[in-house]
Structures are given as structure tokens and as C-alpha cells.
């Protein structure tokens, strides 16, 4: 086995009385699709928020590419090549698709207009955004300057996923990217995930949809009560087993990190 | 023994001086003085609350420059019922006998002096004067009405009802605007009058801060030389402005005198219950008023700015 690209040990995160992460471990291998499954409130979102700098864990350590990292903010994680689509999507409704895609990494005009007057290079950003959306064949958006709030839920989710896919150079994280999507729209997202992986970028996928998970995942991280319970391969176990593990109905297999 | 001083604001230099004068006198006579003020000129409620605090504090006397001369009367009565001597300073209550005594400038006289001076200075042109009036507040407290009407009487304008300003019909009047008695108010009010009639050539102002604001507005349109500004107060900055030609004439008041007389009256009252008496022939104690100008006219008594500077306050 090669070295994990993203690794965490003993992550702890408390919200008041609730311990959302309770000495949780995590590993993502290069080039893989790792699914994370678990009951509601198991701490999945908290885990990926800690990995992507959206929350600061109260304890524990994170390594990226073998180097210890501490992300003070999502921007920080992004600078290291980690892109995340959060459960809430994290888009600014009144801003345009291009504005949203480039939020926090805007392109500036070349020359003095950019360096001194810090003028945005709108045409370049729009061109890139249009390309990315088309390239991913995800949707039929007429106007790249449309405000995000005028998009349907599915289109919005598409823009968020496209943003992550376009900019994630090391790791792409998706938190329940298909929860609100219909059958057709979900299918597209799954295709996109495969697409990203085929570019060599590993993906963390959180989902409650077992068929989807077993379809695309290379490995499945099962989360329970704030901890990693075990990691399984979809070929070794059935969906029924996975469900039994994650709900505590069955004893988890004796893998290294089992709680 | 303790006393209270309640002024309209604690930001107009006139009241700042009044407070200093009262403090000095109180220290001299061994009286403990607490000072209160409204937030803005016209803030009646704060003055009511201050009177109530003085009652609670067991003060022997209250010196009050009322912001709303009729609305405050009940609170004054409550204080007097509690055995406190209440003296109105600067601005008489409405009715004037609601206070035990009033130590003030004869505000009508103050207006009259500058009115007569302006009329005499303009000579024949007075018949076609364009008059702007910068008043205090829309509630028309007594001091506001007295000075305004005094000025108009002095200038020879028919007053209509002498108990309010704004009902005159003389076509020479361009308009009345309120200023809250400060620079900014004076400036914007003057700008409005100028927009109404750019040919204004006489400006009455309620006090010197308002006059200073009006001057800036006139200066902005280059009319500072050709317009006559008259005012009331006689503070040192105002007297300097007379010397510098900013203000043509001002009626000087004596706030330090009001304050020290007031404290003395309270001290006397605390000792044996004697109440101060008004000036002969008037229903208040007149602390005096003097016209200050460097361009004296016949028939109106005045002193020059150098002399005025010796008497000025603040």
C-alpha cells in the first residue's frame, strides 16, 4: 500500500455538550473514491469540515501528502489543493455563476490594471467557467452571468460540484451531493465523480444512498458515534452488511482502526 | 447644602461658562453643586428627569435654563412644593411666575437693540430690506420669541401677535428658519434662506453660534461683505467676530452674573428662607444687556468691541 494522500489521527470536535468527533481517524489513498457512510448525526460532515479547514478541531492531527498541516480556514485548505462541496452548497445567491466559481481565487487583469488597480479579469473568468460547465456536460446554462439564485436546486448543486472538480488539484470532497437531486441529476453527478477520479484526483464522497456508494466507491469508511468504525471494500461485503455495521446491528469486522 | 444647575445643553459655550461661574461661586460659598443638561436644545424630558433627581437628592435650590418654557412648568411646581427654590436663568418660564425668580437678560430689549441698530445702519435702504431670521426651535421657547420680536420691533416691522414669531406679514421678511442655536443649524438654515432669496441683506440670529454658521453660508456665496448680521450673546468669540466684521452688532449678555446671582440667592434661601426680588418695574431680575458694535449709530447706545472684550465671557 502506498502512503495516504490525506490522513488524520485522533480528531476531536465538540459542540457544547455534543462530541461530534470522538478521536476519529481517517485515511484517503491516492486516486481512490472513498465513500463515508453513517447514521444521521454520526459526525460525517464534522469530519470533512475538519479536513477542509471549515472548522478547527479541538484535538488531533492532519497530514497531507505526508506533511503535517493545520488549516485555519477553507481558503487555507484550498491553497493546498483541497476542494469541498459542503452539504449546504456554500454559494452566494445574488452573485453570478462565475463570481461564485472564482470566489476567493479571482483572476486579475494582466499588467498594471491587475497589479496596481487590482481589476478583475471578467472575460477570462467567464470563459473558464463556461468551459468547465460545458466540459462536464452538466447543464444547459444560457448565461454565465446569471445570479445563482435563479438556478434550480439541481443546477446549483451542479455548479458547486463543477467548481470543486475544476479546482481540486489534490483532493475533492463531496458532502451528500445528491440528497436533493432527482434520478437523472444524481446520475450526472456520479458520472462527474468518476470523471474526476479518472484525472487522478482522489474523492471523498459522503452519501446515504447505498446503491450509489457501492457503485462508485473503491473503499467505504463507516462512521459511527463520531469515530471511524471500520473501512471496508464494496467487493468484500454486501450493502446489508454495511448498513448493519453503521447502525450497530452487527459487530464491525476487526480491522485495524475499529473502535 | 446642595444646589443644582440644569442647562439646555452642556455644549453651548454660553452654558459652559454659566456652569463655570456657578461652580466658582458655589465653591466660594461652600455649596455643593451638581450640573445637568439636556441632550439637545429643546430636550424637555431630560430636564424633567434632572429636576426629579435634584428633588431626590434633597437640593436646596435649582437653577434652570428651561428648554421648553411651558412644558416644564409642572416639574418646577413639584420641586417648589418639595421646598426647593427654583430660579430660571437666561430664559423665563411661561408663565414667568412659575419660578420663584428669574435672572435673565431682558431678551426683548436685546432684540430691540440690534433691530434699531440694523435699521439705523441701513438708513433709507431699510425700507426695502430683505430680512432673514434664524430662530431657535419650532417650539418657540420664550427666549426665541422675545429676541425675534424685539428685533422686528426695533427694525420697524409690525409684529402681529407678539407672543409668536412667523405670523408677520411684512413683505421685507424672506423667511424664518430654525437653527437649534448651533453652527451647523445656522449654516443650513442660512443656505435655505439664500436659495429662497439670494438678495437677503439683513440677518437676525438667535445667538452667536448660529451667527457663525450663517456667516459661513454667506461667505460661501461671496456675500459676507454685503450682508448685515446681528446677534445676541456677547461671548468672547462673538465679540471678536464683531471686531473682525463678521457680526455687525451683538447684544451682550452676562451669564456669569446670572449664575453667581443665582447661587447667592440659593445660599441666602438656605440660610433664612429669603427669596430674591426682581428688578424694579420688571417681573424678573435683569442681569443687563449692552449693545456691542464698532459702527455705532445715533440714538442707540453701544460700546465698541475693545470695551466689549473686557466684559465678555468664554
Amino acid at each position: 500500500m502506498t502512503e495516504p494522500i490525506l490522513k488524520a489521527r485522533n480528531l476531536v470536535k465538540r459542540y457544547g455538550k455534543v462530541t461530534a468527533l470522538d478521536h476519529c481517524d481517517f485515511e484517503l489513498m491516492p486516486g481512490e473514491i472513498l465513500a463515508v457512510i453513517g447514521d444521521n448525526g454520526a459526525g460525517k460532515s464534522s469530519l470533512i469540515k475538519a479536513l477542509s479547514g471549515a472548522v478547527q478541531p479541538d484535538g488531533g492531527e492532519i497530514w497531507l501528502d505526508g506533511k503535517k498541516v493545520e488549516f485555519a480556514s477553507p481558503l487555507d485548505a484550498r491553497a493546498h489543493g483541497i476542494e469541498c462541496v459542503y452539504q449546504t452548497l456554500a454559494m452566494s445567491p445574488a452573485l453570478s455563476i462565475a463570481d461564485n466559481m472564482f470566489m476567493g481565487r479571482e483572476l486579475r487583469k494582466p499588467g498594471i490594471m491587475g497589479s496596481l488597480f487590482r481589476k478583475l479579469d471578467r472575460p477570462a473568468m467567464e470563459k473558464f467557467a463556461r468551459e468547465k460547465l460545458n466540459e462536464l456536460g452538466l447543464m444547459t446554462i444560457q448565461n454565465i452571468n446569471q445570479a445563482v439564485e435563479t438556478l434550480s436546486g439541481g443546477q446549483r448543486q451542479g455548479v458547486a460540484v463543477a467548481r470543486a472538480a475544476a479546482f481540486g488539484s489534490k483532493v475533492v470532497i463531496l458532502d451528500e451531493p445528491t440528497a436533493a437531486l432527482g434520478v437523472k441529476e444524481s446520475r450526472r453527478v456520479l458520472e462527474l465523480i468518476r470523471d474526476v477520479r479518472s484525472r487522478g484526483i482522489p474523492i471523498i464522497l459522503i452519501s446515504h444512498n447505498m446503491p450509489h456508494v457501492f457503485e462508485v466507491a473503491d473503499r467505504i469508511h463507516i462512521h459511527r458515534l463520531g469515530k471511524r468504525l471500520c473501512v471496508i471494500r464494496p467487493d468484500d461485503y454486501t450493502m446489508s452488511d454495511a448498513v448493519a455495521f453503521m447502525t450497530g446491528a452487527k459487530e464491525a469486522p476487526g480491522e485495524p482502526m475499529a473502535a | 447644602d446642595s444646589a443644582c444647575l440644569i442647562t439646555k445643553t452642556d455644549t453651548n459655550p454660553f452654558f459652559v461658562k454659566m456652569k463655570e461661574g456657578a461652580e466658582a461661586k458655589a465653591a466660594e460659598l461652600g455649596i455643593e453643586l451638581k450640573s445637568y443638561a439636556g441632550r439637545i436644545d429643546g430636550d424637555n424630558e431630560s430636564q424633567v428627569a434632572a429636576i426629579e433627581a435634584c428633588i431626590a437628592d434633597g437640593a436646596k435650590g435649582i437653577l434652570l435654563t428651561p428648554s421648553d418654557t411651558s412644558a416644564i412648568v409642572d416639574s418646577v411646581k413639584a420641586a417648589r412644593d418639595a421646598g426647593i427654590l427654583v430660579i430660571a436663568l437666561d430664559t423665563p418660564l411661561d408663565p414667568i411666575d412659575a419660578a420663584d425668580a428669574t435672572f435673565a437678560t431682558d431678551n426683548f430689549q436685546a432684540g430691540l437693540l440690534i433691530g434699531e441698530w440694523a435699521k439705523a445702519t441701513m438708513g433709507d435702504a431699510a425700507a426695502n430690506a430683505r430680512i432673514g431670521l434664524l430662530d431657535l426651535a419650532i417650539s418657540q421657547p420664550s427666549v426665541d420669541v422675545l429676541r425675534d420680536q424685539g428685533f422686528l420691533q426695533g427694525f420697524g416691522v409690525d409684529l402681529g401677535d407678539p407672543n409668536k414669531w412667523g405670523d408677520e406679514t411684512d413683505p421685507r421678511i424672506v423667511g424664518h428658519e430654525v437653527t437649534a442655536g448651533n453652527e451647523e443649524g445656522g449654516l443650513t438654515a442660512m443656505e435655505a434662506l439664500l436659495a429662497k432669496d439670494p438678495d437677503i441683506n439683513v440677518v437676525y440670529t438667535i445667538n452667536e453660534p448660529a451667527a457663525a454658521g450663517a456667516y459661513e453660508a454667506l461667505k460661501a456665496v461671496g456675500k459676507e461683505g454685503s450682508t448685515l448680521i446681528v446677534s445676541v450673546d456677547g461671548g468672547c468669540p462673538g465679540v471678536k467676530n464683531v471686531a473682525g466684521g463678521v457680526i455687525g452688532a451683538t447684544s451682550q449678555q452676562y451669564p456669569l452674573l446670572m449664575a453667581s446671582k443665582g447661587i447667592e440667592a440659593i445660599a441666602a434661601f438656605a440660610k433664612d428662607g429669603t427669596k430674591p426680588a426682581p428688578t424694579e418695574g420688571k417681573n424678573f431680575f435683569d442681569t443687563g444687556v449692552t449693545l456691542i458694535t464698532d459702527k455705532p449709530v445715533d440714538g442707540v447706545e453701544s460700546i465698541d468691541a475693545t470695551k466689549g472684550a473686557e466684559l465678555c465671557w468664554g
Binding site: G248, A249 | D10, E45, A49, E52, A53, D68, D74
Partner: protein, 357 residues
């Protein structure tokens, strides 16, 4: 039920024997935490404590402070703000804000006065009309907010100016003198009467304020209407979907707030004796009542807080102002310290919410 149903969800058989545990809870039993928890559960506790502390401090600093007469004076000084605060509390609980409260109060008092004196309507009748017109002014706010869906801040910013200038125009800036009222329309000054148990004068106005707070506290806590006020402020859309007539509710709340303001206007006549269109309540009543509400721990985002907290908030401001006056601080220092108090009260509140969340 259907033939292919169970196959499709076949993996769910893994659920058999699933554990019931949901998440781990560490019950922290430290004293501090328990105090915080209690404070969190009791929204009016923080202002109550601040109040008690400030009373003690001022009693030490000034011998004249902790006296029955001083206390009754403080109560009478906050009567108007307290009643306006009832109006403001209702509105803020629905996540609104009412900048026009002071203007409605002053205009209502002017209406009562002028209807009596200028138009010769008998005082009791004029009072009823004044209350009705104040309610109508509130209702106009409510209509603009609930029907046209305009933000409360803007609507009441506009009507504040409108009501206040209408008040000046209508009154022709005339003050009605106390003596005249006492003579020919004493009903207008009703709330200025007092009881004197043991020589300490307590205005009827004070009892009225306390009664209004008590009634509204009951209504907000123990009636469906009160729960709906909270629900609308919490999440208006959710309230609407779960069966609250949000629009009607908002209209009622602003109209009732208007009524309270008109009552405050009537009380103003009793307290000040005269009827004056320039009363500074017209300018400052909104900020004063919002300050009481905020210090009282009511959230400006709606749905959280208690009207009793507002009452303590008003009392705290009253105690501060009187205390600092008696101590003899410069009035500007009083304003300064009240500014600090506002921020401090909300910071404490935030801290409690955060730690005990």
C-alpha cells in the same frame, strides 16, 4: 406491498437489531456550566442580576440613592419608556423593529390634547379617539409591512418622520399648558395622580406600566396568540406553513404596539402635565425603548426573550441615570457608561448562549 418493493431495498435487512444510541453526550456537571445553563434557561436572569448589582453599587456610592422616594422616582421616570418598551418588545419578538414608537406616542398625546382644547370634544372621548388613532398609526405600519412586504426598519423610518411632522403640523407647534388641562380636562392628566403610602408618592402611571408588563408577560407565555408571536419571529415562513396567519399576526402586533404607544402618550400628559409636540420622546423614544429591549436580553433577530427582561432593561437604564446623577457624574459620562452597558449586556448574553449551547 408491491412485488418488487422489498428486493430494491433489500440491503436494509442489515438494520435488524440496529442500536438505538444516537450520539455521545458528556454531561458536564461543573458549577460554572450549571450556572450558565440556568442563565440560559431564564432569559431575564442576566438583566435581573445586572440590576441588583447596580442598585447595590449606587447605594454604596450615594446615601440618597437607596431610599423609597428615589426608587419611586426612578419608577416614574421609566414609566413611559417601559410602556413604549412593551410595544417595542412585541414588535422585536416578531423580528421587526419600530422606529416610530416615540412619534406615535407624542402625536397621540397631541391629538388627545387638541381634540379636547381646539375642537371641544369631551376629554374622555378625546382620549378614546387618541388611543384609536394611535392604534391606526400602528396598523398603517403593520399594513405596509405585512401586505407590501416592506422591511420594518424602512417602513417605520418613514412613518417616524411622517407621524412626527404630522404632529408638528397638526399641533401648529402649540403647547397646551398644564394649568389649563388641570382646570378643564383633568382626565388627560389621570396617570399623573399618585398614591402616597407612607408619604412615598407613586404615580398611577407606574402601576399601569407594571400591569401592562404583567399582562403581556401572561399573554406571551400562556396564550396561543403569544406563542404565535414567538413563532413568527422565529421563522415566519415556518409559522405560516404550520398554521399561523402570519400577515394578520404582524398587522395585529403593530396595531397593538400603536395602542401601547398611544397609552404612553396619554401617560406623558399625566407625567409632564402639559401637552407638547416637541417632547423629545418623539425623537428619542425609539432608541430608548430599543435600548431597554436589548439590555433586557431580547434578541433583535426575533423569537427569543421575555418582556420581563425588557422591564429590567428599562429599570437598569433608569437606575444608571439616576445613580450617576446622584453621584454627580457629568451627564456625558452617563451617556458614555450607558453605551458601555448596552454592549456589555449583549456580550454577556452572547457568552451564555455560546457556552451553554
Amino acid at each position: 406491498m408491491t412485488s418488487n418493493g422489498n428486493t430494491a431495498a433489500g440491503f436494509e435487512e442489515g438494520l435488524q437489531g440496529a442500536s438505538e444510541k444516537v450520539a455521545e453526550f458528556h454531561d458536564d456537571k461543573s458549577l460554572l456550566k450549571r450556572v450558565q445553563h440556568w442563565l440560559h434557561q431564564t432569559p431575564s436572569a442576566v438583566p435581573m442580576i445586572v440590576l441588583a448589582v447596580s442598585v447595590v453599587v449606587f447605594a454604596i456610592l450615594s446615601e440618597n440613592f437607596f431610599r423609597a422616594t428615589t426608587m419611586s422616582t426612578i419608577l416614574q421616570q421609566i414609566a413611559i419608556v417601559g410602556i413604549l418598551g412593551c410595544a417595542q418588545t412585541l414588535v422585536i419578538l416578531t423580528a421587526g423593529i419600530d422606529l416610530s414608537v416615540g412619534a406615535i406616542a407624542v402625536f397621540s398625546s397631541v391629538l388627545m390634547g387638541q381634540l379636547t382644547f381646539r375642537y371641544g370634544i369631551p376629554a374622555p372621548m378625546a382620549i378614546v379617539l387618541g388611543l384609536a388613532l394611535g392604534t391606526a398609526m400602528g396598523a398603517i405600519n403593520g399594513l405596509l409591512i405585512s401586505r407590501l412586504k416592506l422591511p420594518p426598519f424602512i417602513v417605520t423610518l418613514g412613518t417616524w418622520q411622517i407621524y412626527l411632522s404630522a404632529n408638528f403640523i397638526f399641533s401648529a407647534n402649540e403647547t397646551i399648558r398644564s394649568q389649563d388641562i388641570a382646570e378643564s380636562a383633568p382626565a388627560l392628566q389621570f396617570w399623573g395622580n399618585a398614591v402616597q403610602p407612607g408619604g412615598v408618592k407613586i404615580l398611577f402611571a407606574v402601576f399601569l406600566m407594571i400591569a401592562l408588563v404583567a399582562i403581556m408577560s401572561y399573554v406571551l407565555r400562556h396564550t396561543a396568540w403569544g406563542r404565535h408571536v414567538y413563532a413568527v419571529g422565529d421563522d415566519a415562513e415556518a409559522a405560516q406553513l404550520s398554521g399561523v396567519r402570519t400577515d394578520r399576526m404582524i398587522l395585529q402586533v403593530y396595531a397593538l404596539a400603536g395602542l401601547f404607544c398611544a397609552i404612553a402618550g396619554w401617560v406623558m400628559i399625566g407625567r409632564f402635565g402639559s401637552v407638547s409636540p416637541t417632547a423629545s420622546t418623539g425623537q428619542l423614544g425609539n432608541i430608548q425603548s430599543i435600548t431597554a429591549v436589548v439590555i433586557g436580553g431580547i434578541s433583535l433577530f426575533g423569537g427569543r426573550g421575555s418582556i420581563v427582561g425588557m422591564f429590567f432593561g428599562a429599570l437598569i437604564v433608569g437606575v444608571f441615570e439616576m445613580g450617576l446623577r446622584l453621584v454627580g457624574t457629568d451627564p456625558q459620562w452617563t451617556f458614555f457608561l450607558i453605551g458601555v452597558l448596552i454592549i456589555f449586556a449583549v456580550a454577556v448574553d452572547q457568552w451564555i448562549r455560546k457556552v451553554s449551547s
